[in-house]
Subunit: 210 residues, 2 copies
DNA sequence: CAACTATTCAATTAAATTATTGAACAGATA
DNA sequence: TATCTGTTCAATAATTTAATTGAATAGTTG
């Protein structure tokens, strides 16, 4: 094996794994799986990806060994292979937001239009004045959640407003920076007379700091 | 802007940047530029990439804003855009080596065959018994190097053996894990009666810890 | 100004990727 | 065993990407 042969093999192998990150649908799937394991069906439902296409992208991620699967009855449940997958994904997100400021501007524009661009950090939280609220599906809350957070999935929120303390500011969070469930929750809560803001961080960020 | 439109735009933008990492030639170029700025000519010479093709890959990296360029006379000099590029590249390398053990095995096989698989860590270094040796081209040494290291480019090594202390073990390093200049240096030094090993780390690793 | 150097651009070809469709398959349920 | 459900596979078409070649460009040197 010559030096050139060794390098070609090594760089090609790494490029093959990096290629798994090069498609927007797969990135969205990685963000989703960062919040807990999901069946193909759920992945397709939670994204705008067709069922067969979601399966195909999951195959690509599997071939790159970025995800694992287990079978549960006739379902196939996918999850991230290990912590380094989320770390690499975070590093790429970080890099992208640095070199391509339009990402931040797009987010800002989306949130400004909904008046949900205000957010507070975990370190500013004071349980006397704030109530953390996890608006993700219950399964994701059970997989991992921030200490002290209440779980009310955004689609049940309207029916369960009574569970929330009127006198505190509600701090809603969801899957991460690019997830919009917390925005919807904040808008709903405000329309019902609550004080509400988004949380700056997400559980996935918190366990995989930048 | 709907939630879906926002997500599509954000994930597509990030995927576009991630795509820049999905080609083996570009990864080799990133490793090269981690060791200091280079002209297109130098990039092509140091890799197995043709001149026009190197230029093309550099354009791709430029479009993804992973590299910057400056003009010097009639040369165009490329360098990494910022620290986060090297950080993301390191995260990807780390991930790849974890999920794809063949990378490590290939490296090991290459070095075993040359008896250069032995290496020592920076923390084990004791300047009374070891002499650090930087065998990269002089320009890369001047861009950044480890404290206490001597600079003798590997292609000049044979003529400059007299500059090395016979009684110490020579610890050679080059561009990084996948660079083979230190292996060549260790082989040459041993054939001339020196004690020599590779250094585990590289300057790029040292300034961008995993 | 002519010749030279370093680089980029344009055109081409071969190969890979993406999304869609519908068929195939494997496990669970009746 | 027949049927249903969740998933994968195979075939296709549209789009991208990669490498090669040679021409074009911009700055420098004689």
């Amino acid at each position: 094996m010559t030096s050139r042969e060794m390098k070609n093999e090594v760089y090609s192998t790494i490029a093959g794994i990096a290629k798994a990150f090069s498609n927007p649908n797969r990135l969205e799937i990685l963000d989703l799986l960062s919040n807990g394991e999901k069946s193909v069906e759920e992945v397709a439902a939670q994204t705008a990806i067709s069922f067969a296409n979601a399966s195909q992208h999951l195959q690509v991620l599997k071939k790159a060994r970025l995800v694992r699967l287990r079978k549960d009855g006739n379902k196939v449940i996918y999850s991230l292979a290990n912590r380094k997958v989320a770390e690499a994904w975070t590093a790429i997100k970080n890099l992208a937001e640095t070199v391509e400021p339009t990402i931040g501007l797009t987010l800002q524009q989306y949130r400004r239009a909904r008046q949900t661009d205000q957010s507070i950090c975990l370190t500013e939280l004071d349980s006397a004045r704030y109530q953390l609220l996890d608006v993700r599906p219950a399964g994701e809350y059970h997989y991992a959640h921030l200490p002290g957070a209440l779980s009310i999935p955004v689609n049940e929120l309207e029916l369960r407003l009574a569970e929330l303390p009127k006198e505190k500011t509600i701090v809603a969070y969801c899957r991460g920076t690019y997830c919009t469930m917390a925005d919807a929750a904040v808008q709903l809560l405000r329309s019902r007379g609550f004080n509400a803001v988004r949380l700056e961080e997400s559980p996935a960020d918190a366990s995989n700091p930048a």
